[in-house]
């Protein structure tokens, strides 16, 4: 992680004994205590820590819920009701888990949008970004399968719609769908395998998170200026600076989480999911969980055939393409400047993109009729144009603002420019405090 310049010195005999045999304390010290982070990180950079907390919270509540849940179609719905009514504190654990999924996604979206704003995906952080995209994909698979488990109307019909995506694949589509469902429709084999996979995937996420953090510690964090760290005055120690800042943000986030759990626990869910799954009756308005809505809108926007690709395959390709395009963002952005802070035009397109993503989410919750379809088509066009046209072209034609020479200079400039003349003297302060 910090390479060959570890500053860890065990203080006790036992510490030295362990360090010589399995230097885990050294790894922790180098990664989370002495690890240098840019001194100008803002609160947008606290979501990595928040996400780690959410993953642990989801695994903990999930494991105990699994002790009371039954993955059989005749009992699944009832066992969830029994968790809500009979199991001690069951209502709390289930609401924590259900709302925790939403809080996890809110945090991951902020984390991704922060990366897009500050150009965190640019060299040498491409693999770090791609690992993040893989985590996001795994999160979506986990969230989808988890939503099937309560075996309500939205569970069953959501599973029907999402597994039917695969029938759009030519030749092998039906075979793949049957492989996923374990039958010709969503039934008991489907529920059982989804439960097994829903339990497995979070641990796979944890594994990729380790790789993600590893990659982060190799290349170092970016920062709002997008300038690489050049000297020790550009950084502060992870502990206490980042630890305290992350903890404070986490407490605020947990307060928001608690507000949902205790005051509006069903706000982000659907009343239809409190009706047991009926394979003969589709609810009038079937919508996925809110965190899938933008992609759902893209899926439904393709109502026309594109050459040999029929509308169904086209919709599915557009939806998966909307996620796949994230993986190649490091190579689509041609700008030499990393941070949007110094890219006035990119900033406008970026905020348009953010608004467009929220707009797509809203459209996904509307019925697929009339003007909603046309609006979704326009919004889908902008979604792809942002990545495939604006990102590559803007980097070539945009004139960025002057980028400061170092993080230290940028920080001091912001504080009124008094210290610019004597950066070395002014920056002695944080080190003295540490």
């Amino acid at each position: 992680m910090s390479g060959g310049h570890s500053t860890y010195t065990p203080k006790t005999g036992l510490g030295r004994w362990i360090d010589a045999r399995m230097p885990l304390p050294r790894l922790v010290y180098d990664s989370f205590i002495a690890y240098p982070v840019p001194r100008n990180l803002n609160y947008a950079y606290t979501f990595g820590g928040i996400l780690a907390f959410m993953l642990v919270a989801q695994i903990m509540t999930g494991v105990v819920l699994a002790m009371h849940y039954v993955s059989d179609t005749s009992l699944a719905f009832r066992s969830v009701e029994s968790i809500m009514r009979d199991v001690n504190s069951g209502w709390l654990l289930r609401y924590l888990h259900a709302n925790g999924a939403s809080m996890f996604f809110i945090a991951v979206y902020i984390h991704i949008f922060r990366g897009l704003y500050y150009g965190s995906y640019k060299a040498p952080r491409e693999l770090l970004w791609i690992l993040g995209c893989i985590i996001y994909l795994l999160m979506m698979a986990t969230g989808f399968m988890g939503y099937v488990l309560p075996w309500g109307q939205m569970s069953g019909w959501g599973a029907t719609v999402i597994t039917s995506f695969f029938t759009a694949i030519p030749l092998v589509g039906d075979w793949v769908q049957q492989l996923l469902l374990g039958g010709f429709s969503v039934a008991n084999p489907t529920l059982n395998r989804f439960f097994a996979l829903h339990y497995l995937l979070p641990f796979m996420i944890a594994g990729v998170v380790v790789l993600h953090v590893w990659a982060l510690h190799v290349v170092g964090q970016t920062n709002p200026t997008g300038i690489e760290v050049t000297s020790t005055t550009d950084t502060v120690a992870f502990t206490p600076y980042a630890t305290v800042k992350d903890s404070f943000a986490m407490i605020l986030y947990i307060a928001l989480f608690a507000y949902f759990v205790f005051y509006i626990p069903n706000y982000l869910g659907h009343p239809d999911n409190y009706t047991e799954f009926d394979s003969l009756k589709t609810p009038a308005h079937i919508v996925p969980e809110w965190y899938f809505l933008p992609f759902y809108a893209i899926l439904r926007a393709i109502t026309f055939n594109i050459g040999p690709i029929n509308s169904k395959l086209g919709g599915v390709l557009a939806m998966f393409g909307a996620i796949a395009v994230l993986f190649v963002v490091p190579w689509l952005d041609t700008s030499k400047v990393r941070s949007a802070t110094y890219r006035p035009s990119y900033r406008i397109f970026y905020w348009l993109f953010a608004a467009n993503a929220i707009f797509l989410g809203w459209l996904g919750s509307r019925p697929a009729e009339g003007t909603y379809v046309i609006m979704a088509q326009v919004a889908t066009l902008y979604y792809f144009a942002f990545f495939l046209v604006i990102m590559p072209l803007l980097g070539l034609i945009e004139t960025p603002r002057k980028v400061p020479n170092s993080i230290t200079e940028a920080v001091l400039e912001k504080k009124g420019g008094a210290g610019v003349a004597h950066p070395a003297r002014a920056t002695a302060a944080p080190d003295a405090k540490a």
Partner: protein, 213 residues
Amino acid sequence: MREVDRADSEASSFAGEAEAKEFGVPVSANETIDHNRRDFLYIATGMAGAVGVAAAAWPFIDQMRPDASTLAASSIEVDVASVTEGMALTVKWRGKPVFIRNRAPDEIKAAQEVPMSELKDPIARNANLASDAPATDVDRSAGEGKENWLVMVGVCTHLGCVPLAQQGDYGGWFCPCHGSHYDTAGRIRKGPAPENLAVPNYQFISDTKIRIG
């Protein structure tokens, strides 16, 4: 191949050193490496390994497929005596809904009057007919003399939702999930669905009884 060469050069560079002699480097002046033989062994081992991994992986994939109880061929018999003109019945067959509709004359007339050029999917999708039969109204129905009967798997060909009857722009079926409109012969007319609603294998075993499957 390249790896073999590298190994060779490492071995020979070690051979000159005193400590390497202690460990007895296998390649001496009167021993030579048969590269063809070595390549053959590498490739053979690699291929046997790949086949072994594939063979071991297959059961893990195979268990995901529909099991014997799900596959057990099932056919059902439905009494349609109570389904009078303009009425419909939904039955469950292989876990999916099947719509049985006794169409009123105006529904049949509306479907018959649609020119074939207006159809998004011009194929009948009727398991009882040839796979390229055109999607005329009679091909969609139970056939000459039984045009009033329409039997279809009630699963939208888009993403598998159950369409709602007598709704949508064409008075047939409307899928609430993604807005596909089907006409009174169950043919896709508007929206993202690519195909007409599927007509399963079925036959009238008497005037009032249908066997599906």
